[in-house]
């Protein structure tokens, strides 16, 4: 996910577990969506333990990003096109 590192992102949680990331998204994001590992987000296949949760607040996308040596980070990026793509393709689980 090299290109994600070039996005204007905010780190919400460092070294997050997937249950911890999912709990945060369910508690803090207006909408939550389930995807399977390999789902493409920001042009890259998402890495994770299924089901992987992605959160949306308007155009803001909250999602886990995993690096082999650094673990999983919960990131937040504002991107209207990507938020619309997730709304159209992923399974909505909240609300």
């Amino acid at each position: 996910m090299g290109c994600i590192e070039k996005l204007d992102y905010e780190v919400i949680i460092r070294h997050a577990s997937f249950p911890e990331a999912a709990k945060y998204i369910r508690a803090h994001c207006a909408e939550a969506y389930e995807v399977r590992p390999g789902f493409r987000i920001f042009d890259k296949a998402i890495i994770g333990i299924p089901p992987v949760l992605i959160g949306l607040d308007g155009d803001v996308v909250t999602f886990p990003f995993t690096k082999p040596c650094h673990g999983t980070f919960l990131l937040r990026v504002s991107d209207g096109a990507e938020a619309a793509m997730i709304r159209s393709k992923a399974k909505r689980v909240k609300p």
């Binding site: 090299g2 333990i49 082999p68």
Partner: protein, 159 residues
């Protein structure tokens, strides 16, 4: 174990994790050699550092055949442009658990999570419900226990 698991795969992938623990590089090179002896084409995917450890140790590619960038391998598998019958994912940290779960989802064949390091019980718990086959041997420096466990799987292909 199912009958499918007993079949020799047509091709294999070794997915390297963070190279922080010495067992990884040794097991990966040994597994390349073991797959080569069985005429199973093997792709190794890893980060630049993990790949460098292998390529410096095997400069003439006696054991390594195809080596590729980790993200490229993931993209090819997720996009369906590459398939593998057997994926061996080297796991010693939580990130590698996520990679093993991802391989189980996208690789198409049998995914083997090779657990090593000092927290194998925790990693095993992390992998519960993921569905990949777990091969575990605790330890960071001695590759022999994990080698023996993987050898048992390879032996089923030779039977």
């Amino acid at each position: 174990m199912t009958d499918t698991d007993l079949n020799k795969p047509r091709n294999a992938l070794i997915l390297l994790g963070c190279p922080q623990v010495p067992v990884q590089t040794s097991i990966a090179l040994w597994l390349c050699a073991a797959l080569n002896r069985r005429n199973i084409p093997c792709l190794v995917g890893g980060t630049p550092a993990a790949r460098s450890l292998l390529e410096v140790a095997d400069p003439d590619h006696h054991y390594l055949t195809e080596v590729a960038d980790l993200d490229t391998v993931i993209e090819e598998l997720a996009g369906g442009t590459r398939t593998v019958d057997a994926a061996f994912v080297l796991v010693h940290n939580t990130a590698a658990v996520a990679y093993a779960a991802t391989m189980q989802e996208i690789a198409g064949g049998t995914t083997y999570a090779l657990l090593f390091g000092e927290e194998t019980e925790t990693r095993m718990a992390d992998l519960e419900g993921v569905g990949c086959r777990v091969i575990a041997a605790k330890g960071s420096h001695n590759p022999l226990p994990l080698k023996r466990r993987v050898q048992e799987v390879l032996d089923t292909w030779d039977a």
